[in-house]
Symmetry: C2
Subunit: 200 residues, 2 copies
DNA sequence: TATATTATTAGACTACCGTCTATTAATCCG
DNA sequence: CGGATTAATAGACGGTAGTCTAATAATATA
């Protein structure tokens, strides 16, 4: 269903999307989300503003597409390493996420803000950004449960929302997200006593 | 230092602040944060726009002041009830917060968004909204630790960020915040095994 | 009373978002 | 080739936030 027949009419400029995303990436990295206007991106890309709106609904949709195209890629591969304890896998995942955030944290904050102001974008953001990352942690916790590293009666979804919530909360409140924080989260999730109970 | 000497110049209209906050409260409740403009508030209050900006820096500051004047009041009193388990106190606190959120959740979400787009407001919001609420949970957990309801070696700050993070995360992602969620959070924080370890 | 000082008001101003329109360009199909 | 159709472009448009200015009003002080 991706290309199909190009029924009729002038076709879209095949290069425009790439050019626009490159311009977006460049400007957002240089100046930050808030300081970049749609007009500036269009100008940098050498297209009319409408060409942008033909492809993305809002600035937030465009930036999500341009800056986080690699969604889910950065964390999936190195994580499922059965030779490591789940606690260590979680800590390493969080360190990785926090390093990513040091570069893109302000953009992510802006997108979270945009998601609050725009219902359409909230769903897009959730589907393309939030859910994939949540799944990584949920899967990790499920494996941990299978390996008896946490109790069978633990509520995986709640623990997952503890993990994600903790760093959203820190991110949005301007706290520092460092290795200590990653270790403390992993410690508290995988307390030695957490694996002691029931068999589910 | 509150009134001091009114050195010179025309004094501020003593009633204006109240009138403006009342108008803000009314319109935000009726239409929601995004749909209310500063111009509409000024018009409703019967003052010029500048009179608003003489008192608050941004729409977010005004709304925080108007809608959440009672910050910290709604939850502090009934919470410290030593006849209840700490787990129960936490669950009741969360239920109370979630009920409050059912009414004001969308405004809070808008303010969290505004805090991402405005550094000045982020600090105000943190000081007047986030920190007082965080302290309630931190205090509750400290008392729980004194009463040996959780382990002496638990990291109170991390547990507190689990609790707050969990509902921020749910709130910002449009999840439902119900009694089950409150119970599940309290259950997972106060797992029976969490109190089993070290003496700090 | 006269002066300095501050508040209020109306309205101009810049900058932005997202929509819309009219014109021109590129393609398909008969 | 000649319509039909869709894209790209330039620019107008309405709505909003927050700043700024000029005129007027209210107060303290000399």
């Amino acid at each position: 269903m991706s290309e199909g027949k190009r029924s009729a009419g002038r076709p879209r400029d095949a290069e425009a999307a790439g050019t626009i995303k490159a311009a977006t990436l460049k400007l957002v990295r240089e100046r930050g989300y808030e300081a970049v206007s749609i007009a500036a991106i269009a100008s940098e890309a050498g297209v009319a503003r409408q060409t942008l709106y033909n492809r993305w609904n809002t600035k937030a949709d465009l930036v999500l597409d341009a800056v986080f195209e690699e969604t889910g890629r950065y964390a999936s591969a190195p994580l499922n390493d059965p030779t490591q304890t789940s606690r260590m896998q979680l800590e390493r995942f969080l360190v990785q996420v926090f390093e990513h955030l040091a570069e893109n944290g302000s953009t992510i904050r802006a997108l979270i803000a945009a998601a609050q102001e725009n219902n359409g974008f909230r769903e897009i953001f959730r589907k393309h950004f939030v859910n994939p990352r949540e799944e990584i942690v949920t899967d990790l916790l499920k494996r941990a449960q299978e390996r008896r590293e946490i109790g069978q009666d633990c509520n995986i979804n709640i623990l997952s929302s503890f993990v994600h919530g903790a760093f959203w909360y820190a991110l949005l409140n301007g706290d520092t997200l460092d290795k200590d924080f990653a270790r403390n989260i992993a410690d508290e999730i995988f307390r030695s006593d957490r694996k002691s109970s029931g068999q589910g």
